[in-house]
């Protein structure tokens, strides 16, 4: 197949694509340079680099998690994973990065408390909770396509945000 690139019309097309656009089959023929520009293919070199980078990142993330230790109670994240129990209230902040995905998984994707607040905790927490509740209601209203209700909620949320 000897076709020139449809984009630059100069080089030989080496990348052949079949796209479905609006239900219609469309064939495209590009040279490797134009294909890279369009993000259809990746330079092999870049690919390798990125893979390596990802790998190193993952390694160092794992290392970072393994090294997490609470400076208040001395519990390490690894120890926590072994027993399932935290050592002190501060662990929730000290391990936040590693812990939050676990919390999310065991609480139906939620990471924000809704409900009772200690009597002495003050207004800030209360405002934050109201905001979280309104956002949740907004999401639900949108899902149920109740747009009028959603608009009202959006206004309420705007009003709550500190000006």
């Amino acid at each position: 197949m000897n076709i020139t690139c449809q984009v630059c019309s100069k080089a030989m097309a080496t990348v052949h694509l079949t796209d479905l656009m609006g239900g219609e089959k469309q064939e495209r023929h590009l040279c490797s340079e134009c294909a890279e520009d369009e993000g259809v293919i990746m330079k092999p070199k870049a690919q390798l680099n990125e893979m390596l980078q990802k790998f190193v990142m993952q390694k160092s993330m794992a290392q970072e998690l393994a090294d997490l230790t609470c400076d208040q109670c001395g519990l390490s994240f690894v120890e926590f994973r072994r027993h399932g129990l935290l050592g002190c209230p501060h662990d929730y902040d000290a391990f936040k990065k590693a812990l939050e995905p676990l919390i999310e998984r065991s609480h139906e994707d939620s990471v924000q408390h809704v409900g009772k607040i200690p009597v002495r905790a003050g207004e800030r927490v209360r405002a934050r909770q109201t905001l979280a509740r309104l956002k949740r209601e907004l999401k639900q209203a949108l899902q149920e396509e109740k747009y009028e209700k959603a608009a009202g909620l959006r206004d309420e949320i705007e009003n709550l945000k500190p000006s």
Partner: protein, 353 residues
């Protein structure tokens, strides 16, 4: 201990067999997990910190007016058998009974309230009631928590809510459990469906004694697992409006179907259970639970009118190993217990004739 001996003789208000939907809902329970600020959680507390937490909580709990008379049991000092009695009555967890270090439980006289000190969290507040009554129980425990908060600072995080030793309890720290008696669904082979539906709603289905126990005698405990991102009221509302009424209806339908379509088989089951309990010479805990379960269903379906429900409910508690030994006034090994259990139940049923 005198307190435990007295407790072991009673039925406990939460097993009175009264309350809404009590033909199917045995009991309702709500507990809140709380930890004090300024202390590590218990896994990282040394024994002196543990003692300090214990003394502080004991002091506040015993010197605050909680609206009822409170008995206190030092679990660390209590004999094994006494701890076991408390477990059998659902006043403390197995973990609390078998744990180590200073720990205790404050129990209201009616046994509808129990505060465990130094279990997995510093404080676990629990309210119990007979039948299906989560809403009044929530009102009660909410108020209790408020009263205690006037005296104690509980660890609280702006984002995560009440902080607990195990992140699966964080947020509201609430566990809502309802104990259900589902013999007809079991006989109809429909329990798997109920169990699957509950699990899809992120609810745990467990046996008589909660975590890690098998369902025996057709008793199932359903409880929430999500504690973060939903308010206490929403969690309770899910139980009250969706989960429990549905299962209760389902069980009632299954009972009616049995009554209509398999009358003889049903009666046979009930009367065989009665006959066995009336005449057996040895009975294991598990067999007893199954037999009592059938009697209980028979009474609720009007097939068996000579035994008061109260007796059956009482026997559910008293036929357990530690209670039997308390009643007998001495330690009994497994075989001796089976013999004494059969004797005791024969005696109790004879009284009703």
């Amino acid at each position: 201990m005198k307190i435990i001996d007295d407790i072991a003789k009673r039925t406990g208000a939460w097993l009175s067999g009264a309350g809404p939907m009590s033909d199917i809902v045995i009991s309702s329970r709500i507990r809140l997990a709380r930890n004090l600020t300024g202390f590590p959680f218990l896994t990282k507390s040394d024994s002196s910190q543990r003692n300090e937490i214990y003394r502080l909580l004991y002091d506040r709990v015993m010197h605050t007016d909680l609206g009822c008379k409170i008995l206190f049991v030092d679990i660390e000092d209590a004999p094994d058998l006494d701890r076991q009695v408390l477990v059998e009555r659902h006043l403390i967890s197995r973990q609390h009974a078998e744990g180590e270090g200073s720990r205790g439980v404050a129990v209201s006289e009616q046994e509808t309230l129990a505060l465990m000190i130094n279990e997995e969290d510093h404080l676990r507040i629990q309210v119990l009631g007979s039948g299906f009554l989560l809403e009044p129980l929530w009102e009660q425990i909410d108020k209790l928590d408020d009263i205690l908060q006037q005296q104690l600072d509980f660890a609280f995080h702006e984002q995560y809510g009440f902080l607990t030793a195990c992140p699966t309890n964080v947020g509201t720290g609430i566990r809502v459990s309802v104990m259900l008696h589902l013999p007809a669904l079991k006989l109809a082979g429909e329990l798997e469906k109920v169990s699957r539906a509950a699990k899809n709603m992120r609810l745990a289905v467990r046996g008589l004694h909660g975590e890690g126990t098998e369902a025996t005698g057709d008793f199932y405990q359903i409880s929430n697992q999500t504690t973060l991102g939903k308010s206490e009221k929403d969690i309770i509302a899910e139980f009250c409006t969706i989960v429990i009424p549905k299962i209760v209806d389902y069980e009632r339908m299954a009972r009616q179907a049995l009554l209509k379509e398999r009358t003889t088989a049903l009666d046979d089951k009930i009367w065989r259970a009665y006959g066995t309990l009336e005449h057996a010479r040895t009975l294991s805990t598990e067999e007893t639970l199954y037999l009592l379960s059938h009697l209980r269903m028979g009474i609720h379906l009007g097939r068996l009118e000579s035994i008061p429900l109260q007796t059956i409910n009482d026997l559910f508690i008293k036929a357990q190993p530690a209670h039997l030994q308390k009643i007998r006034g001495m330690r009994l090994d497994g075989e001796e217990r089976s013999v004494f259990r059969a004797d005791y139940i024969r005696g109790r049923l004879a009284e009703t004739n």
